[in-house]
């Protein structure tokens, strides 16, 4: 036991020294910076489109015929949910892999660039039909709404890019493990492995949907499509995608934030168990997005409630772990009494404040998620603004605010520049504006949803019907929130590009917290990813064979393509 503790301590010292000596590899940094640059340009464009939507729903802006609400809604969703999140995640984890595994291999670097350009070409192919109003199908692209086939070809390339990047990550991890026999993968690389496993698993479903169902249908090779199967395949991807961004944020909560507050990480073994649990149970959670879909029997929905709520368990472990780390660190810094430790946390540091608010937002966001996984409750809110409020809390706060917090150290680290006190102050202001804007927007969306205001619908007064006019004050608040959010977006994008190109030169650390010195060693079983992937596949088979067989064998009449806009 003592020997193991000593080994842990030595490993910590070695990793600290290595970081100091190696610093950032410029070639690897260029890869991550490119991904981050695309991510934040997407944030700017997506944020601008978000404002247009918010103002439209508030009833103060009538959109022109050449740029309609549904076009903007589609682009807003794609830019923020797919581009911002995916590009940030990949940029961040590739930086993490490079830092913790001692640099990317040359062939992995090459794969990262091939993946980057594949995704970029895919992105252009997706965006052009949207701009031409040929693909206003929203980011969920549900049949029977059919976009121009080029839109789907673009999606295929985006997925292909993700697979190339995942392959690169796996090659680098396998190479490191061969050269570090018997050692545990560094924790950030462990998170990255989990995320890339999930990315491959999730996109496999959407690839089947797009390649074998939607493309032949949109090209007119087949006349009809099985809408239920397509939706099911989409949500196996869509839900997991959301959880991938969440797992990315969680990685920063476990690994980065403790270092920033001057503490140590939560128990290494339990951290890895949380990652494995999230990977195994995630994809099957997709079904709860279809909980009010017709044609799925109640016993199946009932069982899937268990599978969805199971994901809540590692999230609750995370909530406990984070506050335990905060308390432990605050007390070591001299915090007394029941809540004295709370004051000892570095509230003036944007690298902490932003992720902290993100975590706090996950409490109502997670609770809302549990509400929506429940059939009866979801029936009240499913097609309303409530859902929009929910994912603005989860993605717009829990995930994106963590990404913002990361950007304030990752971008300077990659650019060999520093985070100046002025930039930190700007970050704090940006965090506050974003928080206020998002809280106003999310609360009013939830409330409007409870009163019945539908989502995915442009502004209308329903012939001045009194009941629906009651939604308008709430929707005005959404517009105010969206305005504040765009201000915060502009500040954030300015901060990122300033730190990337103009901030004073210098060295900043890649903040990775160490484990407690007296911690027991983690069992090696956590490293057996082959087994965890097989368990994940078995869980997916358990969840999907039953409903999919039913949907295919007892299929309703297929649907021809529709253009509803």
């Amino acid at each position: 036991m003592d020997a193991a503790i000593e080994q842990n301590r030595r490993a910590a010292v070695i990793s600290e020294k290595k970081n100091k000596v190696l610093g950032v590899c410029l070639e690897d940094a260029r890869i991550s910076k490119s991904y981050l640059a695309v991510a934040f340009v997407a944030l700017l464009l997506g944020g601008l489109l978000g404002l247009l939507q918010g103002l439209n729903r508030a009833g103060v802006l009538e959109l022109p015929a050449w740029l309609n609400y549904y076009q903007i809604l589609t682009a807003h969703g794609l830019l923020l949910v797919v581009v911002l999140s995916a590009f940030f995640t990949i940029g961040y984890f590739y930086a993490g892999l490079s830092h913790t595994l001692g640099g990317l291999l040359p062939k992995v670097r090459k794969l990262a660039w091939i993946g980057f350009w594949t995704k970029m070409v895919g992105l252009v192919l997706v965006v052009v039909p949207v701009l031409m109003n040929e693909a206003s199908v929203m980011y969920t692209f549900y049949p029977p709404m059919a976009a121009h086939p080029v839109f789907y070809f673009g999606l295929v390339l985006v997925v292909l890019g993700i697979w190339i990047l995942a392959t690169g990550a796996f090659i680098n991890v396998a190479h490191w493990r061969k050269n570090h026999k018997g050692q545990h993968l560094p924790i950030l690389a462990f998170f990255a492995t989990g995320v890339f496993v999930l990315l491959v698993g999730a996109t496999a479903f959407v690839a089947v949907e797009v390649l074998f169902m939607i493309i032949p249908w949109s090209l007119g090779w087949v006349e009809t499509i099985n809408v239920m199967v397509a939706r099911t395949l989409f949500w196996a991807f869509g839900h997991t995608a959301v959880n991938i961004w969440y797992l990315t944020a969680v990685s920063a909560w476990y690994v980065i934030v403790p270092k920033i507050i001057g503490g140590t990480r939560w128990n290494d073994y339990l951290t890895r168990v949380v990652v494995i649990a999230l990977v195994i149970m995630n994809i099957t959670g997709g079904f709860h997005h279809q909980i009010v879909d017709p044609g799925i029997s109640l016993p199946i929905k009932f069982m899937h409630v268990f599978m969805s709520l199971a994901i809540g368990f590692p999230s609750l472990m995370t909530a406990y772990a984070m506050f335990r780390v905060f308390e432990r660190t605050g007390r070591r810094k001299g915090g007394k009494g029941a809540l004295g430790w709370f004051k000892k946390l570095p509230w003036g540091d944007v690298r902490f404040l932003s992720p902290f608010i993100a975590m706090a937002a996950f409490i109502p966001a997670g609770a809302g998620g549990i509400v929506q996984s429940t059939n009866q409750l979801d029936q009240v809110v499913h097609n309303t603004m409530w859902i929009v409020g929910h994912f603005h809390l989860t993605l717009g706060m829990s995930v994106v605010m963590t990404f913002f917090g990361i950007s304030y150290w990752l971008v300077p680290y990659l650019s060999k520049r520093v985070l100046t006190p002025q930039m930190n102050k700007l970050g704090i202001i940006q965090t506050i504006i974003w928080t206020v804007g998002m809280v106003i927007m999310a609360i009013s969306m939830h409330a409007a949803g409870l009163f019945g205001s539908p989502r995915r619908t442009s502004f209308t007064t329903y012939g001045d019907f009194a009941e629906t006019l009651g939604w308008n004050p709430l929707m005005t608040a959404v517009g105010i929130g969206a305005t504040l959010l765009l201000i915060a977006v502009i500040l954030q994008v300015y901060a990122v590009f300033n730190m990337m190109f103009f901030a004073p030169k210098g060295e900043v650390e890649f903040p990775i917290a160490e484990i407690e010195q007296d911690e027991a060693p983690t069992p090696y079983m956590t490293e057996r990813w082959g087994i965890w992937v097989v368990v994940m596949l078995i869980v997916i088979a358990m969840a999907y064979v039953l409903p999919l067989t039913d949907m295919i064998v007892n299929a309703p009449p297929g649907s021809p393509p529709f253009k509803t806009w």
């Binding site: 493990r177 061969k178 026999k181 018997g182 016993p299 009932f302 069982m303 090696y524 490293e527 082959g530 087994i531 992937v533 097989v534 596949l537 078995i538 088979a541 358990m542 064979v545 039953l546 067989t549 039913d550 064998v553 007892n554």
Partner: protein, 185 residues
Amino acid sequence: MTQFIYGLLLYIFLMLPPVAALFESMMITHMHMQMPMLVISGFLMSGLLLRRSHLFLEKWNHNGIPGITLFMMIMIYWTIPRTMDEALTMQTMEIWKFISLPFLAGVPLRDSWKKLTKAWKNFIIFIFTVKYFGMGALYIWSEESLCNNYLVIDQLTLGWGFITTAICLVIYLVYAFSVNPSDYE
């Protein structure tokens, strides 16, 4: 002791009439959820039971082969369509299911698995893979209803459940044979 309690709680949970009725209402959940969970409940409870019968097991199951043979017999027995039918129509068969799977499959599995060599373990998984492909083919291609209590669609679903599980086992076997742990550990 903790494991025993978890196993016992799972066992009692599976016995609750609404839970049993829900699992047994669908053929695939009957065979691929309820039955494995009964084995798992026995597996969890067996720690305590095995410690008490240490000498007996040392004598009769010292290399794990008798135990795993018993496990295989029970598992194969419960994949026969008729046994599932009988469990639903005859109370005694239902009781036999709740006794045989935890105590004659779960308990010997735990005692035997750790005693088996790696080659034996992979061989057992290989047998299950072949069996699952075979059972999958039987359930998918059989045009007649094999169980009186279930519809043909139920049986088709179960067939695909077998095939997908078998594919997962193949992936595991490929992983086990293609990746040499000593390269990494």
